[in-house]
Amino acid sequence: MLKIQNLHARVEGKDILRGLDLQIGPGEVHAIMGPNGSGKSTLGHVLAGRPGYEVTDGSVTYRGEDLLAMDTEERARSGVFLAFQYPVEIPGVSNMEFLKASVDAVRESRGDAALDAVTFMKRAREACKAADLPVDFLKRGVNEGFSGGEKKRNELIQMMLLEPSLCLLDETDSGLDIDALQVVAKGVNSLRDGKRSFVLVTHYQRLLNYIEPDHVHVLAGGRIVRSGDKSLALDLEERGYAWLEDEVA
């Protein structure tokens, strides 16, 4: 599904990723943990193609193609979805318009027929229900005036409607209370179908109680410094990150 080799990236003149290797197979769930400033969020943005995130070395192959050569929207259309840590507010553009534009663009590039208004509405309502967000949120401006938890749930709605192949969740759990976390986790779990892959970027082990990962990686200093199964996350929760950083140093 995804193969990252020796990835180096810089942001605003600072080297953040320094030789990151990671391989993700179909249907796998990978958790990437690490201390603040280790480059976790940078990885998500580099994969999604955010302007200003400059890849200086290495390669990323996604389903056999060079991901880095693709434009931001091409990546999205080919099934890479990034759930933002801080979803962007777009006043004046309704959530509905936004979702329809997005779903149409992605389906069109896949060669699927555009959804008619009734079907689309039906799916959007279902997604709202799954995300536990009232349907009137579809009429409001994109994320406009939403609480932190509502924004994260709105990301989940988009993920459900776009049916991506690779879901990158950037600190989706931060700032969520337990109830909201459970809703998001349930949504993510419902999308696990044995083919779709997930990368969960998180600072806390808590999320992994609800979404069980196949692999856990620790990112520090811009590289994966340790990989293991979910027991690694429990170790980290108990001992913090300092011992690992010391060990690496």
């Binding site: 999604a48 193609g49 955010r50 302007p51 434009d71 931001t72 929207e73 990546r75 999205a76 259309r77 979805f81 990034l82 933002f84 979803p87 962007v88 507010e89 777009i90 006043p91 004046g92 553009v93 318009e97 936004f98 329809k100 534009a101 997005s102 149409d104 663009a105 992605v106 590039s109 401006g141 988009q158 776009l162």
Partner: protein, 432 residues
């Protein structure tokens, strides 16, 4: 021939307005045209004005067809003018109870008395030569009279079509609205070029008088295109507890300049003043707004937004003037601009002039391009860059469109604006 010489010579106000007209003529001839050194005209050159504008004779103006988008109408009374000449065949006058509407030319004695009493009382002075010109070249006008406590639900739609097919045409527009105490009404002023319109100069003045506790929804839409020049003004006076909701839109043409002046004359008055300007090509749009807080306890919320592309220029000047003793005033103004081309230009100046201390006043202005982060967010959802730009431009303006009270007008404007942003229709498909 000099600028407006023929229209001045041909001015034909009704006889009971002729002394007013004479005053306008003497004010106009005593003043001089503003230049770039005139503070109020610093960013707007008048070099496009021609010397050969002529008033269209009624017999020259062939009846036109209404544009398709307007055929359905806004669901109320409609008066239509073509090149300034009234077109009964395109108009439909159904007056609900409490509403009187007439042209100055057709005014009854009682109406004439009211017009003579109120007309030209909110404008004038050396600072506004074009308002003097309007009075000086007055030919006809529209008088809208809302009776006390009348609650008029349907809008009054005043439409000026610009055809100017044969020669550079001078068009005079004059409106007086008298909303008596406790009344409610809606008036839409719209200016629209018909296809192939040639050079024209429209001089517009609208006076809105809101008596105590009156509520007026006012819309002024400038959709003239091509070589049209419009220099117009809207002056409103609000008595105690009156409420004005005024919305302005300007799509470009060679030059549009609109001065909006709201005078809070009675405590408790409130004004919402919103506007959108969208010049492109080499168009020039200039809005100058002034809010006069002359008495205590009045409030104003003003939002103007513009998107300026190609080689176009936008000028915005938003002045809030708090007079001495106008305590407990609250006035806020926001002006945001998107600049979408390296050859476009925005000049904005929000002004506060405050002579009372117990007031809450604030203004803000920004000029930038479309937010990079929002653009990126849309692209990560698979939306193309071009479509994302259209959606974000539309969204920027749509916040104001959504706030409009008159639904048929929203329905009219949405596709109009969506199409304007999307030069290719497919890019607007999700907005329509």
């Amino acid at each position: 021939m000099g600028f407006m010489e023929q229209p001045l010579a041909e001015a034909r106000a009704p006889h009971w307005l002729q002394s007013l007209q004479a005053r306008g003529q003497s004010r106009w001839s005593a003043g001089k045209l503003p230049t770039r050194r005139t503070e109020n005209w610093k960013y707007t050159p008048l070099t496009g004005l021609r010397d050969d504008y002529r008033v269209a004779a009624a017999s020259d103006v062939a009846p036109a067809k209404l544009p398709d988008a307007l055929a359905q109408g806004l669901g109320g009374t409609r008066l239509v003018f073509v090149d300034g000449v009234y077109q009964p065949s395109l108009s439909s006058v159904e007056l609900p109870e409490g509403l009187q509407l007439c042209r100055f030319a057709d005014a009854s004695d009682a109406q004439a008395a009211l017009i003579a009493e109120h007309l030209d009382t909110l404008v004038g002075g050396q600072a506004e030569p074009f308002a003097s010109l309007n009075t000086a070249t007055l030919r006809d006008g529209v008088f809208l009279h809302v009776a006390a406590n009348a609650d008029v639900q349907t809008p009054v739609h005043l439409l000026w079509l610009v055809r100017a097919a044969d020669a550079p045409t001078a068009i005079s527009q004059r409106v007086l609205v008298l909303a008596e105490s406790g009344s409610r009404a809606t008036v839409v002023e719209q200016f629209l070029s018909l296809n192939g319109a040639e050079a024209s100069f429209t001089s517009g003045v609208t006076e809105l008088k809101l008596e105590a506790n009156a509520k007026l929804h006012h819309y002024r839409l400038h959709e003239e295109s091509g070589e049209a020049i419009h220099i117009g003004a809207v002056h409103a006076r609000l008595e105690r507890d009156a409420n004005l909701d005024s919305f302005h839109l300007a799509l470009g043409s060679r030059l549009k300049r609109v001065d909006v002046v709201v005078h809070h004359a009675g405590p408790g008055a409130h004004a919402d003043l919103n506007g959108v300007y969208l010049p492109r090509g080499d168009e020039h749009i200039d809005y100058h707004t002034t809010i006069e807080h002359a008495v205590p306890h009045c409030t104003t919320d003003e939002v103007f937004r513009g998107i300026v592309g190609d080689k176009a220029t936008a000028v915005f000047n938003g002045r809030i003037h708090i007079h001495p003793d106008a305590q407990k005033t609250r006035a806020e103004l926001s002006n945001r601009n998107l600049l979408t081309s390296t050859e476009a230009e925005v000049n904005t100046k929000p002004e506060l002039e405050i002579y009372a201390d117990d007031v809450q006043c604030a203004h803000g202005a920004t000029v930038a391009r479309i937010d990079d982060l929002a653009l990126h967010y849309l692209r990560t959802r698979g939306v193309s860059r071009d479509e994302a730009e259209v959606m974000l431009s539309f969204g920027f303006i749509n916040e104001l469109i959504d706030g409009m009270a008159l639904e048929p007008l929203r329905e009219y404007l949405r596709p109009l604006l969506a199409k304007r942003f999307a030069r290719d229709d497919t890019l607007a498909r999700h907005l329509l």
